[in-house]
Point group: C2
Chain length 308, copies 2
């Protein structure tokens, strides 16, 4: 009864929507396998691709927490083995912990008789994020689970809205080989900000939502601005300004930090153009002697899915 | 060659979009007449309905400033007489100064040969607001001029976006007979706010834009929330909480302060229901011995217009 699920990486904030917007990509992503075991315990059976860094203890592991919360909700006491194949870097700003939780809970839901819809699985992965990140952020779990561009209107009660994906927009995502923990990237942010900055950012996020509904790429570019987090986080990311400049100069609609970084991404009209922008981003980093990985894909409108 | 224009009142902020959203109503609104005079001066020839409160000096009057800026832009040195018929209360949160400026500039543009589009007239009315309010806010002038629901994405450069109006949504707008100056309503606001409040408000404004695009009245209601200004301004408005409670109880989708107040408004699905909600709002105020005026109308999608 072995079940395997793929859960994609995701771009938290999507530049203009600090802590409320998220966007799924097609690659990278984690694979998670689940199967019944002979005990009544939920166990992390193995993790590959994490260089031994992730906790194996069920309730300290994002996948373990998510599956435990689901099983408890369903009142199912059967033991489950979870095997996580990490296929993306940790601490990367790509929603790595979210992807493992999402993959695990989607696979486990199938294993346990497919009783809940994907949207119903949200609370379990938010709980997993709360354990893994110390805060129940949903801006990575929502897109990884549901796909597309997601908006968290409210956390209490949790209200997730799926926004339309603009046509022919591709993502060039680059991960520089440096680790930046979410907690550290949060600590550089001020706790208060001038009301004028909030007003400015509201104008941009509202325009962004209008742009995805009207498929207006020019407005998309103009509205993808971040005055809240980027000014504080960019200095933590190697060569951010140079990579940004090179991407925009090569025709990117917009450029920003993926989640809390250090990954960076550009949105580009057209696939070939996105590949060109991605190459320039890589070259700019390599010239500065920073190794990196590039992923070019469309927005992933499916989200997590069961795979053979 | 006498020309007359109507410019509608407008609801600044639209609850969830402090300083960036605005919405025009069908009533009330100002009428402004313009005609050439024999001098080379732009003159405020008369103002009715203001109980003598508004300045008659051209460059201190919002209508005078707007027409002067337009004439200067066009390089037209002919003298113009402006007569303003105020048909709404001053200091009301209904965009009174904006309506006079908009009516004047729309009429003057017609008088001077209709050389500019309505959108092109924006800078002149923003300039007029700068003079009248001490700040170049555009959240009232944009809807009064262009109609519908408007979003100011950015002030520098000025970028105004027209959002779709949801079907079958009516506005019940009540003005209690107390005066509240915009400057006073601004002074109660904090200059800084916790980043968490900004995040919360971004979720709401983004959901609001999605709701008007998808005509989702339920989401409209949920997203019309203001955590930035309402908590500080509501105490300045007589019986705000009681009127809000009565409106929501009677079926309003949402309720809030119009602009900086003291006017309040409810958005309601259906005309008859909006009239019922409006009556309850009036009764609640009257029971507290506050006189008020009620206006029930659809969103005004036309904005300012030339009238016979």
């Amino acid at each position: 009864m072995f079940v395997k699920a793929f859960a994609p990486a995701s771009i938290g904030n999507v530049i203009c929507g600090f802590d409320v917007l998220g966007m799924a990509v097609k690659a990278p992503g984690d694979l998670v396998e689940v199967d019944f075991n002979d005990s009544s315990d939920i166990l992390i059976r193995g993790i590959s691709g994490d260089q031994g860094k992730l906790p194996r203890e069920t309730m300290k592991n994002t996948a373990g927490v998510a599956v435990s919360a689901l099983a408890k909700h369903l009142g199912d006491e059967r033991g489950i083995d979870i095997t996580v194949h990490k296929q993306m870097p940790l601490g990367s700003g790509l929603g790595s912990s979210a992807a493992s939780a999402v993959g695990a809970v989607v696979a486990a839901n199938e294993l346990l008789g497919n009783k809940l819809s994907k949207a119903d699985l949200m609370p379990f992965v938010v709980e997993a994020e709360r354990i893994a990140c110390g805060a129940g952020h949903a801006d990575n779990v929502a897109p990884s689970l549901l796909g597309g561009i997601t908006l968290i209107r409210s956390y209490d009660p949790l209200d997730v809205i799926q926004l339309p994906s603009p046509d022919n927009v591709f993502v060039a995502l680059v991960h520089p080989d440096v680790e930046l923990m979410t907690k550290d990237a949060r600590n550089v942010l001020p706790t208060e900000l001038p009301i004028s900055k909030s007003v400015e950012q509201m104008g941009h996020i509202a325009a962004f939502v209008h742009a995805v509904h009207t498929n207006d790429h020019q407005l998309l570019g103009k509205s993808l601005v971040d005055v809240l987090a980027e000014p504080y986080r960019a200095p933590l990311i190697p060569h951010f300004e140079q990579v940004k400049k090179s991407a925009l100069y090569t025709g990117a609609l917009a450029f920003g930090i993926s989640g809390s970084g250090p990954s960076m991404f550009a949105l580009v009209t057209g696939k070939v153009q996105a590949e060109q922008v991605g190459e320039i981003m890589v070259k700019t980093l390599e010239r500065a002697e920073v190794d990196c990985q590039l992923y070019v894909s469309k927005v992933n409108d499916k989200g997590a899915e069961i795979v053979d």
